[in-house]
């Protein structure tokens, strides 16, 4: 008798597993397991057919850190993330403010903003690549018609052909596809700010700039933090834009760590896995740094 009730108690304690279990199992299989395999692979010697040829110690990491382009790639990844996220947030703050006003056609404008978000990133990138084609690119034809370009087909009509010309365009496209989500996140944050706070500010005689700085921005912080954080991770792992537009070329001069990882996969899967681990670590470090800087814990819930 006593025994059965004890067993019943134990079962009751385990009961939540029925609900939590599937989710835990899903995370374990879909998230944790690949990470484990990734870390494992980074210490293995793997043939190009994918056959494991035994352990490789830290050989993959030694080789990776010895790559002449490794330092440049990592530095570029950081610049890429900072530039794209900063520009995205700035543009989105302005756009959110604009779309929060009442004006005729607002509904239409808000819908239009979704377009770059709804379109596939790969498609957007390929279209921009076409528009920048030296022979038949729309943007180049426009530049020629405006007198900014002497002739089509030459190096001057080929902004994606050099790192200096390509990076601004890559950043532009990345911002272009990131802005809709960020703007909507901020717009949601804006509409959650109660109107009476603004009324109080008005009665106190605060200027518009002052109101924005002291009321809107602080109250927007939770939305801003989440939006920026998601962007940081997204942009750091962003692959299709650079891959479709430049393949990281010329050389590795427009490659970020994600692109580098993919290229390495063609020659050495173990080294590529090591790059993935470094990449994974970078995302975690970036996230922690970001949360520290934006004082995530003290932000109002």
């Amino acid at each position: 008798m006593q025994q059965t009730s004890a067993r019943g108690g134990a079962l009751r304690a385990l009961a939540p597993l029925a609900w939590v279990g599937p989710a835990v199992a899903l995370i374990a299989v879909v998230v944790v397991w690949p990470v484990v395999v990734m870390v494992q692979s980074s210490f293995l010697k793997i043939s190009r057919f994918g056959v494991v040829q035994g352990g490789n110690g830290t050989g993959n990491y030694d080789k990776l850190f010895g790559e002449p382009d490794f330092g440049g790639v990592m530095a570029r990844s950081l610049v890429w993330v900072v530039a794209v996220v900063a520009l995205t947030v700035l543009v989105s703050l302005a756009l959110a403010q604009l779309f929060n006003q009442r004006f005729p056609g607002r509904r239409f404008a808000r819908w239009a903003l979704i377009a770059p978000w709804a379109a596939s990133v790969l498609m957007t990138s390929i279209i921009f690549k076409w528009m920048l084609d030296p022979e038949v690119g729309l943007i180049n034809m426009l530049r020629r018609d405006l007198g900014l370009l002497d002739a089509l087909g030459g190096a001057a009509a080929d902004p994606l052909g050099s790192a200096a010309g390509a990076m601004p365009w890559l950043v532009f496209v990345a911002v272009f596809v990131s802005v809709p989500f960020t703007t909507y996140a901020l717009l949601a944050g804006l509409s959650a700010i109660p109107a009476d706070v603004y009324e109080a500010a008005k009665i106190d005689g605060a200027s518009k700039l002052r109101t924005y700085w002291s009321i809107t921005l602080p109250l927007l912080r939770p939305a801003l933090t989440v939006a920026a954080l998601i962007n940081v991770m997204n942009v750091f792992n962003s692959f299709p834009i650079i891959w479709a537009m430049t393949h990281g070329q010329p050389g590795y001069s427009t490659a970020t760590s994600t692109i580098f990882m993919y290229i390495l996969k063609g020659s050495d899967i173990g080294e590529s896995a090591a790059m993935s681990v470094v990449n994974f670590g970078m995302v975690i470090v970036l996230t922690i740094v970001f949360l520290k800087v934006s004082k995530w814990r003290t932000a109002p819930a």
């Binding site: 009751r12 199992a25 190009r48 022979e135 010329p250």
Partner: protein, 421 residues
């Protein structure tokens, strides 16, 4: 409560079972039975040279034609064909091998990975003497590991110089250039005539290793020297890229070649924006589809004379020994090589034959002639070297930088990858 928990556990367990089961669902009907007197089923796995399973030129349709004819001529032998696209075939075959479900015959881009594990029949075990003798010797040699043949040449491809005849007439150029000096002079004339890309130079990641190799050859260079040691930064190769750099700096090529892919440059050629470009038989339908028909094909220009060799690429067919169908495989190969199947491949996919008789059959085609002439003397990538895949990756990504920066430094960095560890 109790029941639900058990239910959840069962669910979880069965899910786990399903997942682990995925890898081995195809077990069972293994390779066909070998019962004496009964029918033998050969399993053939092949790559798709066509445009996918629904296209008119799909591999399924091509192989069905071959197999129907073979089965009619050889009652008692059935052939089961599985066509896989190029992106997946390596992985799927690797899975088959790992699961012990190897095909009898495999047609794909490489054979060398299977030799070490002793999975393949030797060439002379499954190929009759007459078929063996018909294969181009240089091509067959590349199917050998330590002097023993395992890979049987299946189809090949080669490169030659394509030029736009209309643009050549417009620029007043009488015939295609044979030497580098003539090529530069022709490019300058084309430039003056308003051609934006006199020479199409794709050194982007799609196939920079091919374009570079052709220029190395033009100066007697290559990825390796005559002793078989890596020589990517040899004096001949560096000189070739210095010459290219001169063309690029003078604006006589595709702008920023290091970021341009052959697909795009070929499209520009088809659109009449490019005067000359290196291409293969497979580019002929691309140019024609793009609306360009008045083009000529010539041997590739070298430093002092036109090349008598070319870049050869060959694909392979091979026989696995696990199911022991040696006799039947031999019959199939003989049927394939002696019949019109090989020619049908050339016609359908613009691929080149690997047999002497195949070359003869095609020799009347004016546009294929430069390819066929150079084919018996073709040069190949050093793909048997285990370092090649790494070198290849590095070449694709970085060699384009050699025409923008210092050729010696860029080629030296690739050489370092080739000789490291």
């Amino acid at each position: 409560m109790n029941k639900r928990l058990v239910g959840a556990l069962t669910l979880g367990l069965s899910a786990a079972l399903v997942m682990t089961g995925c890898g081995s669902t195809q077990s069972g009907s293994d390779g066909g039975d070998k019962a004496s007197g009964g029918d033998v089923t050969l399993k053939l796995v092949a790559a798709d040279y066509g445009d996918g399973p629904t296209a008119d030129n799909s591999g399924e349709k091509f192989w069905k034609g071959v197999v129907d004819g073979f089965q009619k001529a050889n009652p008692g032998i059935k052939v089961d064909v599985q066509v896989i696209n190029w992106n997946d075939i390596d992985k799927q075959v690797a899975t088959m091998v790992q699961n012990g479900q190897v095909p009898d015959i495999l047609q794909t881009g490489d054979y060398s990975g299977f030799v070490k594990d002793g999975l393949l029949y030797k060439t002379d075990e499954v190929l009759s003497a007459s078929t063996s003798a018909d294969l181009l010797p240089k091509f067959a040699d590349f199917g050998k590991v330590d002097g023993v043949g395992y890979g049987i040449p299946f189809v090949s491809s080669a490169r030659a110089l394509f030029y736009n005849k209309d643009l050549f007439t417009k620029a007043g150029i009488a015939e295609p250039p044979k030497t580098w000096d003539e090529l530069k002079a022709a490019a300058e004339k084309l430039k003056k005539a308003g051609v934006s890309q006199p020479f199409g130079l794709p050194l982007g990641n799609e196939e920079a290793q091919a374009e570079s190799f052709l220029w190395f050859m033009g100066n007697g260079g290559g990825y390796k020297d005559s002793s078989g040691a890596w020589a990517v930064d040899s004096a001949a190769n560096v000189e070739a890229f210095q010459y290219l750099k001169g063309l690029v700096d003078a604006g006589l090529t595709t702008p920023n070649p290091g970021t341009k892919n052959r697909k795009d440059v070929w499209a520009d050629f088809a659109a009449g924006k490019v005067g000359m470009v290196n291409g293969g038989p497979m580019s002929i339908p691309i140019f024609e589809k793009g609306g360009l028909t008045n083009f000529g094909v010539a041997p590739i220009a070298g430093k002092t004379a036109a090349l008598d060799t070319t870049l050869g690429v060959e694909d392979w067919i091979m026989a696995f020994n696990k199911n022991g169908h040696q006799e039947q495989i031999k019959k199939f190969f003989d049927y394939f090589y002696s019949g019109d199947a090989a020619q049908k491949i050339s016609d359908t996919y613009k691929l080149l034959p690997v047999t002497k008789s195949g070359i003869e059959k095609l020799s009347s085609d004016e546009k294929l002639k430069p390819f066929l002439d150079a084919l018996p003397n073709a040069t190949f990538y050093p793909f048997q070297d285990p370092k090649w895949s790494e070198v290849n990756t590095q070449v694709k990504q970085t060699i384009g930088g050699a025409v923008g920066g210092d050729p010696k430094a860029v080629l030296g960095a690739i050489q370092k990858v080739a000789t490291a560890g």
